[in-house]
Structures are given as structure tokens and as C-alpha cells.
Symmetry: C4
Subunit: 237 residues, 4 copies
């Protein structure tokens, strides 16, 4: 396949992945961005900056070099470009990166806590807790903020000895989630699952610590079950 | 207008109102039922019993007399018919009744608590707390259960001196909500609003008692706001 | 009816039931699976393993024998096949089994708690608390994991003396729900209801233990109600 | 462009913005209203009072002078007209105002609390906490209620020294949110974001104070991750 065709297909995938973020209700407005890398061609394709979903199209996706610089005359890439570029540089087996402000993942990020692995839904996709990286310092923020966001993510993963392929997601404190994968589809899947397990973990903590002694009275339980089931059933809404 | 035409229109309204319960996500499966009374013709129109929404049509709605007995050869009316009939008998200005198992209203009913009037969304529709009636006794349940459900509702409203037109909704303990109105559209509107205010009241209680001292650091607040707004803005997702 | 036609209809029902899991928002991605048994023909029909909903079709559903072995040249059955097979063997009146990772049921499973019967919505479908079975041991997991999941479910139901027809659902600890029924439609209905009652039970526990003394001031309640209702009403949004 | 054409376009934008409130699930029934000002033409365009979304159309939008009085023969403007008029008078850079009863923003309003800035999703749109203005007094309510609602909003913003352009939203205690912006699209965007950050803030407070010591057992984590990933993977739903 010629490079032009490869790039066209990358743009198409990145475009559709951005739409999927919206369909899966992971984002509002134009929040969120998806990128894909082709390490042989030394290019990254990413969503353009500040374009609404109505105006967006596959051919408007921006092609950059590995340092995140647009190649030729194109729209400006997403402002989070440098976070993506740094993660691609640090994690050589990543093929795609997704950033969202999905509600439940953000709740954990804002609380500054890892999402604990409470069950198999989590374990099927993330091999351990999803870490919450530290907040950036004043210096890191006043400098190259977006690139430094990438630094803080990589630092967290290396310091904790996490296998980035086995736990393809992280929260940035007070900010939100980044997920990745070998393909764009998998990176978006991981963003979908991350928000679900974030919601499930919250509910799990609530239910674990809650309890009531009262129940429905036995005679009301009997009445309702038996008017709908068995030989004396008579009920239909 | 001839009675036949009036009845046809009643059936059409009751049918559409049942569909709306589903569209508004107030019910699952075939839960819930809507009825409408015509006091001049001495008839009630209600959903048939246990018919799925796929099979339902306007002409399948059941016409009963004021005691809830189907007139002529028709399908069985909803099992909750006798609750409706008793409410129509007791509250002469009600034109329509709706019963759902909408999630948030049921949560309050299962907790056995009135939904407190915490704000204007509530006050716009319900002139005071929405009461939670007591549970039925063993005797009331083993007797005419559905009619006794009506008794318990009426008893609660009379004992508390509630104006049923100004508070057109009630919860039956361990069960769920009934709402009413002068027209079918208003009765369904009240079912919609009841679930919203039930959800809002729950969140209000949580937020009122919760607080954190920590916030986003000022420099991160500055960075994020100022990279998107004002003369040095540069950010687009 | 010839067996071929029976099998074709089983495949069609199992296929549509899998789609319904997605429509009812009980699953994400390809999570979840539905099977149906025909005890006369000694066959089980189940979703194939790891096929996306876009690629899926009725004729791709897999036909196995009662031990869960595909008959002839077919796709691989869902990995949870052996859990299904063991439940069919143990519970002779089950006609269909559904496994999901629906959010609220999983929250209770991850908390390791039964879902208490708090009201009539629960009682209409489940004749008592929905049990949470124990976690599998290391040995059970390193052995035939999926079949042992079936063992743990059956063990829980037998030990507690539960009537599996009257309580057609269970949670597996740290994992998620299984539901069943005499027909595929009923098994899916039970999965739908299970998640609703799981959500309602959580809210019931919260509301039961919460309360506020403050309310909306009486004069604001008066103003808002009376500007919309009665003879001096003037309000419209 | 002639004034007539300008007015036609304003009506079209205001109409579409009202529909968007419903699409974004910020309102139920006919709750909520949007207005737009043209300071050169000295006119405000707002939704008519109490018209259902089915009956609404762009040409039914009401044109008023800056005091909120309809110009010529038109429908009655939304009852909240005077709140809008007072805000336009007080905040000269506002081009559009939105009022909703969106669920999570109302929860904070009913609790009488500011929405704290807990993260970058908030900081991207609101440069600091979103304030909750005080409740109106009996006198303010029995007087010109809707205009006084505007007074209380302006009073809160001035007393706290808030830059209304940098924090384009407020909660009125026991009532709900108002948002604004330089354009109608931005005012609605702010209403959308406000409800999301209100929900996120609530979850953040919950997670911050919650924790569990128990986790999924390591062997179950291993089993589930490894049956789906790596060289010994065998699992598909």
C-alpha cells in the first residue's frame, strides 16, 4: 500500500474514533482527542484544534511528524499534541492515544485517587489499579504544560514499575484520563471501559459500607411474587 | 361529539400516554399504566393487562364502568384497575391517573420517606412534600389488595389534610408512585417531574452534608482558564 | 417442525437477545452472552466467542451438545459456555441463561453482597434477596475456571435452599450477574430487572439513612406554586 | 444587513438553542429559556411563555425592548423575561442568557452551595467556583419576583468581586442555574458544561472521602487479565 493510502486510512480511523467518543458519551462539546501513530512513516495523525463535530471530516485530521509538528499546510493540531507525542516517544508499543474528560474517570482524577481493581470487568482490561499521576508543579505548568503532562504520566508509570501495555490507562490528577492501545479501536475501547469501571468502583465503595436492617415485609413479598407467578397468578400491569 | 368518538379519542390518549412512559424512561418492560375517566359517560379507559408495547394499540385499551368492570367483550384491564377506580371515586376532580415504577421515586418509596420540597422545580408542580403512604397490613394485602392500595392512598391524603389537586402525587411504601391530573397529559407530566425531583432531592441531601477543603491549585486553574480565554489563549482540543 | 427449523429459530432468538443486551445498555463492547437449550434435541445455542456486534448474525450463533462441545465445523462458542452448560445440567427447568456485566448488578457483586428485596419491583420478579455467591478459590480458578463458576453458583443456591425458578438470578462475587428463565425473553427480562432493582436498592439505602432539616422557605414554595397554578397564575417558561 | 434579517436570524438562533436544551437533556417539559440581545437595535429575543416544544417555531420567538416589553402584537414572553432584562442591563458584555433546571446544577442550588472548582474541566470554562446566590427575601418574592431574581444575581457577583465574563454562570439558591455568554451558542455551551461539572464535583466529594481496603484477589486478577491478553489468552465473550 502506498503511503498516501495509509495516511488516508489513518485519517479515516482517527476521524471515526473521535466521533465514537461522542457516541459513547465520553465527551461533551469538542472535548477529547484521538491520535494514531505510524512508526514506519514517522507520522502521527490527530484531531485538529477546536473544530466542532459538525465541521469535522476525515480529511481535516492533521498529520504531524514525531515531534508533533504539522507537515506542510494544515490546520493546527489539538493542543494536547505534545502530550501524545511524548507518550509515543516513551512507550514504543503504543499505536494510538485517547484523551477524554469522561465523567466518572474525571471524578477519580479530581479526587486524586487510583481506580482500584474491584472486579473482573476491571481485570479483563487493566492488569491492576489504574494509577492517578501527581499534579504538575507551578514550574511544569508555566513551562511546556502539555509536554510536561506527558512527562508526569511517564514518570508515574516508571516509578511504580507499571507495565504500560497491561494497564493501558492513567489519570492525571485534577484533570482526567488518557488511555492507549496497539490500535485506535483498542485505545477507544479502553476509554469506554475505563469510565465504566470508574463508575462501578464508586458504587462498589458505597455499597460495601452501607447496609439496612429493614426489608420488604414477608407478606408483601409473598403477595407480589405470587400474584405474578405460579398457579394462582393473576397480575398484569 | 358522539360518545363513540369520545371513547376513541380517550383510547388514543391513553395509548399514547402509555408509550410516553416508556419514552421518558419511567418504566421498563410493561410496568406502569395510565387511565382516563369520563365522568359524564361513567367510563374509565385503561391499559389492558400484561400486553407488551409491541403488541399494544389504541383500540386494545379497555373501557370499564366506574367500578372497574370491563363493558362487554374486551381484554382484561390492568391489574391495578381497582386502585385507579378507588382514586377516581374519592377524588372527584381527577381526570387521569398514572402508575409507574420510576427509579428515583421508587427509591424514596422503598425508603418509606416523603420527598421533601427542596426547591422551585418541586414547588412549580407539587405544593409541599410528596407524601409516602404507609405499607398495607397483612389483612389488607390478603384481601382486595389493589383496592386497598387505593384506600391507603386516600387515607394518607385525608389524614394529613393534603389538597390532592395541589399535590398530585403520592408514594406507596415499599412499592412506588401514583400521580394524577385533570388531563392525561398533566398526569404523565407529573410522573415525569416526580422522578426528577426525587433524583434532585437525593443529590441535594448528599451535597448538603458533604464538603471538601481541597480545591484545584490556583496555578492550574489559571493555566487552564487562561489557555482557553483572553488575549493569550491558544488552546483547542 | 423439523429440527433444522427449530435450530434456525433458536439461533434467531439467541442473536436478537444478544442485541437486546446492548439496546438495554446492560453491556459495553462484546461483553455478555445469551444461550438457549433444547433438551429434546440435546443442544445448546450460544453466542460465538469475541465477535463484535457489527459482525454478528443469527447464523453465526454456535450449536453445541449438552457438554458445550460445538457440533461440526463452527466458530468457537463464548468462553463462558461451560458455566452455562453446568447450570443447564443442574437446573432442569431452565430454558435460557444470560450473563452480563450490567453496572449496578456488578457494583453489588464487587461489594460481595446480596441485593436485598426492598420493594415490590424486586418482589414482582425475584422471590427474595438475589444471592451473591462466594469468590472462587485459587484452585478453582487455576482449574476449569468457567465450569467452576457454574459449580459455585449451584453450590450457593443449594446450600441456601433457594428455589432457582423463583429467584432466577445470582451474582458471582467480584464478577457479575447471571440470570435465567424458562424462555430466552424471560432470561433477558430478568437481566434488565436485576440491574434496575440493584440501582433502586442502592438509592434506597442512601435515602433511608439520610435526612435534612432544612426545606425550601414556605413563602418561596407559595410563590412558585401559586404563580403557576390557580386563579392568579401568570407563569410560563 | 437589514434589521428584519438580523431579527429573523436572532429568532432562528434562539429557537434552535431552546431545542438544544432539550436534546442535551438539560430540561424536561417546557422548562428553561434562552434569550439573545442586540444592543444596537435595542431588542431582546426570547422564548414565548408556556409553549410546548412541539408547537414552537422560530417565528414564534418574542421580540421585546430592553425593558422586556414585547414590541407590537406578539405572544407573551417567558415569565423569566425580567430576570434576563436585568442581567443584560447590568452586564454590558453579555450577548445571551440561558436558564435551565438541569439536574445536577439544581442539586447544588438546592443545597445552597457554590460548585467548587475541582479540576480542569471546570477551569476550562469557569475561572473559579460557580457561586450560589442567596435566597430571595419574602419582600423580594412578593414584589417583582423575576426582576428581583436578577437583582440577587447581580448583587452576589458584585459583592464577591467576580468577573462575570470569566465565570459565566450562577446558581440561585433553592432554584437553579443561569448561564450566559457573548453568543447564544456559548451561553448554551456553558449550561451544558455547568451540569457536567456539577455532577463531577459531587462524585469527586464522594470518592475523596471514601475508601476500601479490600480488592479483587490477586489470583482472580491474574486469571481474568491473562485469559484475555498475552500468549495464553483464550477468552472471548
Amino acid at each position: 500500500m502506498m503511503s498516501e493510502e495509509i495516511i488516508k486510512e489513518m485519517k479515516e480511523r482517527v476521524y471515526r474514533a473521535n466521533l465514537r467518543l461522542s457516541e459513547e458519551k465520553l465527551i461533551k462539546l469538542t472535548w477529547g482527542n484521538v491520535s494514531e501513530i505510524n512508526r514506519e512513516l514517522c507520522i502521527i495523525v490527530i484531531k485538529p484544534s477546536g473544530v466542532s463535530y459538525e465541521e469535522m471530516s476525515a480529511d481535516k485530521m492533521v498529520v504531524t511528524d514525531l515531534r508533533g509538528q504539522p507537515i506542510g499546510d494544515q490546520m493546527k493540531p489539538s493542543s494536547d499534541m505534545m502530550t501524545h507525542a511524548h507518550l509515543y516517544e516513551s512507550f514504543p508499543k503504543i499505536g494510538s492515544i485517547v484523551h477524554t474528560h469522561s465523567e466518572h474517570a474525571v471524578m477519580w482524577a479530581q479526587a486524586g485517587k487510583d481506580i482500584p481493581a474491584y472486579g473482573t470487568t476491571h481485570a479483563d482490561h487493566f492488569f491492576g489499579d489504574v494509577p492517578c499521576a501527581r499534579e504538575l508543579t507551578t514550574e511544569e505548568i508555566s513551562g511546556e504544560y502539555e509536554r510536561n503532562t506527558g512527562h508526569v504520566i511517564v514518570e508515574c508509570i516508571l516509578e511504580r514499575g507499571i507495565d504500560y501495555e497491561a494497564v493501558p490507562a492513567i489519570l492525571v490528577k485534577s484533570h482526567g484520563p488518557f488511555t492507549w492501545g496497539s490500535t485506535t479501536e483498542k485505545a477507544v475501547d479502553n476509554a469506554v471501559v475505563l469510565d465504566v469501571v470508574a463508575k462501578m468502583a464508586m458504587g462498589t465503595e458505597y455499597i460495601s459500607k452501607s447496609s439496612l436492617t429493614k426489608k420488604i415485609p414477608q407478606y408483601l413479598l409473598d403477595k407480589h411474587y405470587l400474584r405474578k407467578h405460579g398457579k394462582n397468578a393473576y397480575y398484569g400491569q
